[in-house]
Amino acid sequence: MTALIEIKGVRHAFRTAAGPLRVLDGLDISVEEGGFCAVVGPSGCGKSTLTRLIAGLMRPDEGEVWLHGEQVRGPRSTVGMAFQNPVLLEWRSILKNVMLPLEIVPNGLRGKAAVDRARHLLALVGLEGFEDKRPSELSGGMRQRASLCRALVHQPEVLILDEPFGALDAFTREDLWQTMHELKAKEPFTGVLITHDLREAIFLGDQVVVLSGRPARTQYLMNIDRSAPADLKELYTAEAAERLTILRHQIEIAQGRAPEEAKS
């Protein structure tokens, strides 16, 4: 299989008043078509910069980002994004919010086809009957579900999720993890998930990348077999505990709190 997302030797620095601030320093990530890569790392290590690079919102100082065999040089309509803040437009109904990308992308669905597509997605995430509500009338979890629908409505090749569940309570978050698996089964996409939650990373990702502290480089890679259907119970097995222990230790190394002997 070919890699759909290929990040090779990416380095990037922000120009600040105090001189250049290096955020990414030798990042290598490769995600196969249909894969789901969870990226974890200490706070402020450049994870959000990574999402902006993949989305083409900025270009790296050094290194290359490839999507589907093409080098990313600018924004492209084959990308869908969702953030921790659902950023729904308050003046639009939920349905109209979900349809927004179709108004932007070239050859997006129009008219009834667009409405049907949005309704279909909303039904998939359990928001049937809320199409005409305003975002302010929905709970945080429901808003995030709508935001996921908007990210997927134009059938993007790549879904970029920047801590989308970070602001939700634990139970809502677990609900949305399940929803993500259901969505993935019905709406195939290749995903990159930025998260601070190690359980989320091992439950959703088929690979987990640990970034080092700033400037970030790829520090550790864990592959997870996803052939069996996902079940929240698998988070409470010995295998999961072992994975979490390894990742926890890697994060401590990234934070500079543990010696680097475990580095592979």
């Binding site: 902006r52 989305a55 083409g56 919102l57 600018g74 924004p75 492209r76 309509s77 990308v79 994004m81 953030f83 803040n85 950023v87 437009l89 308050e90 003046w91 927004l100 990308p101 108004e103 932007i104 992308v105 305003r134 302010s136 908007r150 134009h154 970029i160």
Partner: protein, 255 residues
């Protein structure tokens, strides 16, 4: 009582109580007309000069609205420039604040001298000058505080700056814009009347006020003030109506 009826009757009753209190205040103190006219003195003034009130009221109204429209166009334009460019914001802010700090009463004679005889133009100009500032500031704040994620969801799809402005920046700024417009409405009235009162051979309700002063017709002066208040209320509620149409989404229903 239905909610709709209540919305009309409650303010009307409030106005009535206000007029009664006013009447009682004047009556209890035994104030003569030249000290303070009472509401019952106003009615004769209106019936006697009703034609003048209509003509002058219209002149005040259209010049205020013209100044306000100009303020909306120019204020929005300045706000957009300052909202999108940090450099422009840093450069223009002190100028704007300084300009706004100058009492417009001092500008009136200058404007009257520059454009001698152009009464309508002068009046509209002062109404504009006094009322554009809140609009410019609110639009610039609305645009500059747009969270980057809002831009990113559209930019990531390859949307142009123009698309982002029409789909997100503009609608998101509307609540702030209408808030400022409510302030600007009353400011524009102040501007119009300033010019009408100060400039010789003036027209509009301001000139009528001035002639009441010259003729020591105190009930007429008070009647003008109430007419001005009425026009202000009408324009204000027109803005509220527009806000309901274009920005009602910003109103949260109490939970």
């Amino acid at each position: 009582m239905t909610g709709r009826l209540k919305k009309v009757t409650v303010p009307l009753i409030a106005i009535l109580i206000f007029l009664l209190l006013w009447e009682a205040l004047v009556w209890l103190n035994g104030w003569p007309n030249y000290k303070m006219a009472s509401p019952s003195d106003l009615w004769p003034a209106y019936t006697r000069y009703w034609e003048l009130f209509l003509v002058m009221g219209w002149q005040t109204l259209w010049r205020t609205v013209a100044g306000l429209l100009l303020a909306v166009v120019v204020g929005t334009a300045i706000g957009m420039v300052m909202g999108f460019s940090r450099t422009m914001r840093d450069g223009l802010y002190p100028l704007l604040v300084g300009f706004n700090a100058i009492p417009k009463a001092t500008v009136v004679p200058i404007v009257a001298l520059i454009f001698v005889g152009a009464h309508d133009f002068n009046t509209v100009l002062i109404a504009f000058m006094i009322s554009f500032f809140p609009i410019a500031v609110s639009v610039s704040i609305g645009l500059s505080t747009l969270e980057p994620e809002y831009r990113d969801i559209l930019r990531a799809l390859g949307a142009s700056q123009t698309t982002i402005f029409w789909k997100i920046a503009l609608p998101k700024t509307l609540p702030e814009f209408f808030g400022a417009l409510k302030v600007s409405v009353t400011l524009a009235f102040i501007g119009t009347n300033l010019m009408e009162i100060v400039s010789p051979h003036g027209r509009g309700l301001g000139a009528l006020f001035d002639s009441g002063k010259t003729n020591s017709d105190y009930p007429l002066m008070f009647a003008v003030l109430i007419a001005l208040a009425l026009l202000g209320i009408i324009l204000y509620y027109i803005v509220v109506g527009l806000e309901k149409i274009f920005a009602s989404w910003a109103e949260r229903s109490p939970h």
